[in-house]
Symmetry: C2
Subunit: 344 residues, 2 copies
DNA sequence: AAGCGAAATGTAAGCGCTTTCATTGGCGGA
DNA sequence: TCCGCCAATGAAAGCGCTTACATTTCGCTT
């Protein structure tokens, strides 16, 4: 048995195909009785509107694309849980608005924007990890003139081209460091890459420096160790710091994964966390609360992040003016920083 | 400037629109010179084939839908990392085959199959957590007659309708339990729901029972505590077990999340893991290796799972005969089970 | 020189829908 | 009684592409 079309319904309902189309979309132009009749028949036939035909004709796709560009090589399981959390939130938000969500985890292609929007695959694009920030900015600038519809999770910098949503990284770094200082720590390290290809980590680092300064402590450049993203990077960074012989009693890590790796390295080297070394992460990924010790961290609200990304993108698609937006961070105090925990 | 169409290219290349279509698809019917010329022009115009038009005309979508039906209510971050790992692998596999991936995290709708396949949104569907197994089976049976294209991650049961990919849950349960027995544990509990709505957990439980029997130990029904999926469930289950006063020295948990929750509860009740209580999980989610203690667990290979799901589904779509498939499990020995660790 | 087949291209018919514009019928006001 | 108007419906034109079929061209055989 072939798939039913709107024409089949039209014949059965003894109306024209255009009336069927209208009835199915609840157009006020069609008589309520007719509408009901048509919809009943459609249900009986298990009819569903062909989205390709609809999209082609109406020149829109009702689809959002989410590009997550953090390819760790062959493996697939290694995607940062923070991004996956946003993905989950985005998926919900998109569904709530009646859109479909197209997901791709590939490296950013040469012209990702055209591939998705121009090819009428999606009405707009959400970008979640864009690789090198500078390359990305250049690409964005090119795209600015074309009326492209995309939004990026990343650093919110005034005057920067493109539309960005991100959290207050500087403040987050400040909050974490401040807390460690209040707990009596004086030799606080920072784990995270601060090259200008990583503006978010760099901002967290800025906050860290500012907190030290505010407390009258002077920062020791040797206590900053690069680390890109994974647990492995954090592990390596902590080892490197230990080997340097430089004394330290606390670490601010630019992400939870880095913190997890660092803690693992510290403990296996015989340093107790938080007794010997306090550690604070960044992101508040789901496992942070369930580790031992439970991870103190700077939360980025992924649920809100996803919602904001979707809402703003839809506004952009609708042609409304949209601005970048800075989301607040919150320090979640658990066990890994020492001192009394506020919550679990 | 309007979007270029194949007709625009045809004019510029002084050929017919059909030749353009053929040239862009690398058809051998078109002269290599012409092809090059057409493709050059297409590139200059930043032309991309309109996927809606292509899909409509060619009656296929080049898209796979992934439905993840594990809605934890409002939140979004609570999706089981195990499924997210499969999602990642699926995304890669799908991309490698030139397909797009549509993702939905909603609860399964009344007719999810029609919504996606019938509506020409996708050529096939991957299901990743189907809610209640019995309801789902009923639905599948209905769908069997329609020539639906979908594949499910779940229990592989001979004679069962539908196409399933899953790991050898019974064996996994056996491996975990066997190990604990070898480590000298004699009062081994099981955390995980074993109602017939959860055939996978139930199989893991079967393996657990068989291992106990094989060792001449008799299972104590009071040492089995239900737990659905989250850390919270595991936490609660462990507390319940502690409160029962029943002595136990090890836990087999039906998932890593349950294990994480259980460990957290045990430790906060003053029981050291693995010294007082050994714990083994199931799944090998990314954090398992980085916890303290590192979690011993039964690995399900998510990378292979994703690849197999995609390959089999594509075969099904291509009309080839496809069978369900059982994937092997592997016990990853780390710290939480006591005894020497094989690997990290 | 005629004929024929293969290679290359052109022609045109839709895929199933949305939407504009035209048509119909019924009813109230003049 | 006639006209105009509104509500409801129908007719038809594509959206941009793929593809079956028709046509042209050209090199070769006979």
């Amino acid at each position: 048995m072939k798939k039913a079309t709107s024409l089949d319904i039209a014949h059965l309902a003894r109306v024209s195909q255009s009336t069927v189309s209208r009835a199915l979309r609840n157009s006020p132009l069609v008589n309520p009785d007719t509408r009901r009749r048509v919809q009943d028949i459609a249900r009986q036939l298990n009819y569903k509107v062909d989205v390709n035909a609809r999209n082609l004709r109406s020149m829109k796709t009702n689809t959002i694309a989410l590009l997550l560009c953090e390819d760790p090589g062959g493996g697939a399981a290694q995607i940062n849980p923070f991004f996956l959390s946003i993905l989950g939130s985005v998926a919900h938000a998109v569904a709530r608005r009646g859109y479909d969500l197209l997901v791709s985890f590939q490296q950013l292609s040469e012209d990702w924007q055209a591939d998705y929007e121009h090819a009428n695959r999606a009405d707009g694009i959400i970008l979640l990890g864009y690789g090198n920030y500078n390359d990305y900015l250049k690409k964005i600038s090119e795209l600015e003139q074309a009326e492209a519809h995309f939004i990026t999770w990343g650093p919110v910098i005034p005057g920067q081209p493109g539309l960005f949503i991100g959290c207050d990284n500087r403040k987050g770094g400040y909050q974490a460091t401040e807390r460690l200082i209040a707990a009596g720590r004086r030799h606080i390290g920072f784990v995270g890459e601060i090259s200008d290809g990583c503006p978010e980590f760099r901002d967290r680092f800025r906050g860290y420096r500012q907190a030290l300064e505010a407390a009258g402590l002077n920062a020791d450049a040797a206590l900053q160790i690069d680390g890109e993203s994974s647990e492995k990077d954090g592990h390596r960074a902590a080892l490197q710091l230990l080997e340097s012989g430089r004394p330290f009693d606390a670490l601010v890590c630019a992400s939870d994964l880095l913190a997890i790796g660092a803690i693992s390295a510290l403990r296996h080297a015989g340093h107790r966390v938080p007794d010997a070394v306090s550690v604070i992460g960044f992101d508040d990924i789901p496992t942070a609360a369930h580790m031992t010790p439970a991870l103190t961290t700077v939360r980025q609200d992924t649920v809100e992040a996803g919602q904001v990304l979707v809402e703003k993108l839809l506004q952009l698609i609708a042609g409304k003016p949209v601005d970048s937006m800075l989301l607040p961070t919150e320090l979640i105090v658990r066990e890994s920083c020492g001192g009394p925990a506020d919550q679990r």
